[in-house]
């Protein structure tokens, strides 16, 4: 199993004819994702890589029963794209677009919630359930199927960490990019709950950063979790009051500090890595044996090596 997306996920790419959309449509297809359709207003009837393009998401639903979307629509029009996807009843909406006005983001989230859609992002690399479905812009090579769930606020850093896990033979159930904006559709707690309920996920990696209080809230939840959690938090050296690239990555008014987050996580029993590449070692340490294989730790990495207890 996996969370949010899997082999039953049928995807429409919104703005599939733009440079990014076209490139990543191809990449997702190559990964084996069921990309069924694309949209691009005024370009209905065209094809991209053999995938039909429609003017509206409504048509993509009608003709292909799509149930998820990946949005590459420019920031000024992204709100409309999310509304369109939610209105069409798509269950998962991945918003790659960055620099979306925060008021638009708040509107999107309110509407999506009203319609029962899950929004991943905005300003996210997306979500991947290795071997099943890739909805986003992450490099496929970093991932392999396995027992570890990853949830991250940042993109490249999480590729780094996933890649290290993969290299260590620790595959992933699902990797979720929450997105770097101040207002995003999912928070750590919502994803941790999903991982808790997913029988195949046996350990979770949380990749956080300074700013906001998402890691602190996650810590509260983790206290009641039975699955082990390993964390890495970026921003140890960030000075207060500076926005470190992400809208949300800023220590404001003494809140959202590195120290506060580490303290909360450790108090919840989370193993916190000092350096990104230590995450894999910590996961290997905490990963419980699978009930099925009577002692293996579920490693089934690219190297094809068996588990070691």
């Amino acid at each position: 199993m996996a969370i949010f997306v899997d082999e039953r996920t049928r995807v429409v790419i919104q703005n599939a004819t733009g440079r990014q959309g076209r490139f990543h449509l191809t990449q997702m297809l190559a990964y084996g994702t069921h990309v069924m359709a694309g949209t691009s207003p005024g370009k209905g009837g065209q094809e991209v890589e053999g995938i039909p393009i429609y003017d509206t998401v409504e048509q993509a639903v009608l003709h292909h029963a799509v149930n998820a979307s990946v949005i590459f629509v420019p920031a000024a029009f992204a709100k409309d794209a999310v509304f369109e996807a939610a209105d069409a009843g798509l269950g998962v909406i991945v918003v790659i677009t960055e620099h979306i006005p925060v008021h638009d983001a708040m509107a999107m989230m309110a509407y999506a919630r009203q319609r029962g859609s899950v929004v991943v992002g905005p300003n996210t690399f997306g979500i991947i359930s290795p071997g099943k479905a890739k909805l986003g812009i992450m490099p496929a090579v970093a991932y392999t199927p396995g027992p570890v769930g990853i949830v991250a606020r940042s993109g490249t850093l999480s590729y780094e960490i996933a890649s290290a896990l993969t290299d260590a033979g620790l595959g992933q159930t699902t990797v979720v990019g929450l997105g770097g904006d101040r207002v995003v559709g999912l928070n750590f707690v919502e994803v941790l709950k999903k991982f808790s309920d997913d029988p195949e996920t046996r350990a979770v990696v949380l990749v956080g950063e300074i700013g906001g209080s998402a890691e602190e809230e996650a810590s509260e939840y983790i206290k009641g979790m039975s699955k082990p959690v390993v964390a890495y938090v970026a921003g140890r050296s960030a000075p207060p009051g500076k926005r470190m690239g992400h809208a949300g990555a800023i220590i404001e008014r003494g809140r959202g500090t590195f120290e506060g987050k580490i303290e909360a996580l450790e108090a919840a029993g989370v193993k916190v890595a000092a350096l990104p590449w230590q995450v894999a070692d910590l996961v290997a340490e905490v990963l419980p044996p699978t009930p099925a294989d009577g002692g293996g730790n579920g490693r089934n990495g690219r190297a094809g090596t068996g588990g070691e207890a």
Partner: protein, 399 residues
């Protein structure tokens, strides 16, 4: 984008929020004229920093001469590291009580939140939680009058004050929406001796990502010259006080790179997130920008996802060719999308790259110290993982 107090108050006034009579002065003469018109005045430096009162940035004057004198003392000086070029000259208020009122983006709730307190005039984060009322607002419907009345009721303001307060709150919410604000704040919302509420001080922080919808908005630029240049180029750049220039792709990895450099004993000169999928030209501009600060060493840390390694390599070569070679150690870590093509381009130019952050970080710290001529090769701190291979200096940054 943070607006100066006087711009925030102009916005408030346009939306019908009472503000003290006042004028902006850029000279002692201007301050004197304002005082002539207004009588007893306060002079407040217009800088984008809190705590200006404690730092001596607020003065009072009873006569035009005194106002001129005070303005002369303030203008041109630096307060909290920021040059003072404008003072707001305002009629001095007779204040009975001070409230706090703000509307902000609540990232956790994903909604606007109204924040109100009877304990105003101090930073809201210094007010005990039990004195603060927070009320999320449904973005579909906006702030309804009844909600404003509820908040007034919870503050226990009494009938007269409630109706003034409710009116001001609804207007402040309008400001918040109209200006695509991240924060619209009145602090203190002052109750004057005549029984009327007035916005004695105010902040209005607009969402940078929404500025395209506000072409007529005043432009307030905050940051160093280089930070402004970077922002214009679409780069996320923050200046720090070290000597190792850092470029990476992605906010998280850039932060992590700085963290590692620091853990390894180096001092980052900046945070530069070239973002995802920056093209050759943008990346080259980013590198030029970094070099313009004359760091002791440069670290490029790329894990290519949406970013293509060949683009990064081309950008480096472009900059190298423009400058006739690099005059500092350039340490590169390059993996991911189009990695092979990128490495080939680097190799053609005579540059090499590391595969891991660890190696690259250790190396750049070492190179910076060598470059500064003060230190033997580095070791990573104990427990921080395997140190970089010192022999990599020749492989990676050898120009």
């Amino acid at each position: 984008m943070k607006l100066y107090e006087y711009l925030a108050k102009e916005a408030f006034a346009r939306h019908g929020i009472p503000v003290p009579p006042g004028r902006v002065a850029t000279s002692p003469k201007g301050a004197a004229e304002a005082a002539q018109e207004l009588g007893d005045v306060a002079l407040k430096v217009q800088i984008l920093a809190g705590g200006r009162g404690k730092a001596g940035g607020i003065r009072f004057a009873s006569t035009p001469d005194e106002a001129a004198r005070q303005a002369a003392e303030l203008l041109g000086t630096e307060i909290r590291g920021l040059r003072v070029s404008k003072v707001l000259v305002e009629k001095k208020l007779q204040i009975d009580r001070e409230f706090y009122l703000g509307v902000a983006v609540d990232g956790g709730a994903r909604r606007p939140v109204v924040i109100a307190s009877t304990a105003g005039g101090v930073n809201i984060e210094d007010v005990p939680e039990k004195l603060i009322i927070k009320q999320a607002v449904d973005p579909a419907w906006g702030l309804m009058p009844f909600r404003a009345r509820q908040i007034a009721r919870r503050l226990d303001l009494g009938p007269d004050l409630s109706s003034q307060f409710t009116d001001i709150l609804l207007r402040l919410y309008d400001v918040f929406q109209t200006y695509d604000a991240e924060l619209a704040e009145i602090n203190p919302l002052a109750l004057q001796k005549d029984g009327l509420l007035v916005a004695a001080d105010g902040r209005l922080n607009m969402d940078d990502d929404a500025l395209f919808r506000h072409p007529d908005s005043p432009v307030v630029e905050e940051g160093t010259e280089l930070e402004l240049r970077a922002r214009k180029a679409g780069l996320a750049y923050v200046e720090l006080d070290g000597d190792i220039a850092v470029m990476a792709n992605g906010a998280g990895i850039t932060m992590a790179t700085l963290d590692i450099i620091q853990l390894y004993g180096g001092r980052p000169a900046n945070f530069l997130d070239a973002g995802g999928g920056a093209g050759v030209e943008t990346t080259a501009a980013a590198i030029e920008l970094l070099l313009s600060r004359r760091p002791k060493a440069l670290l490029i840390n790329i894990f290519g996802g949406i970013t293509r390694c060949d683009d990064v390599a081309r950008a480096l070569v472009t900059v190298g060719e423009r400058r006739g070679g690099f005059d500092l150690p350039v340490v590169i870590r390059l993996v991911g999308t189009n990695e092979k093509e990128g490495l080939a381009i680097l190799e053609d130019y005579g540059l090499k790259a590391y595969r891991t952050m660890d190696e690259a970080a250790a190396q750049v710290v070492h190179a910076a110290k060598v470059s500064a001529g003060d230190q033997p090769p580095p070791r990573a701190p104990a427990g921080a993982g395997p140190a970089g291979d010192p022999s990599a200096v020749e492989r990676g940054g050898g120009l």
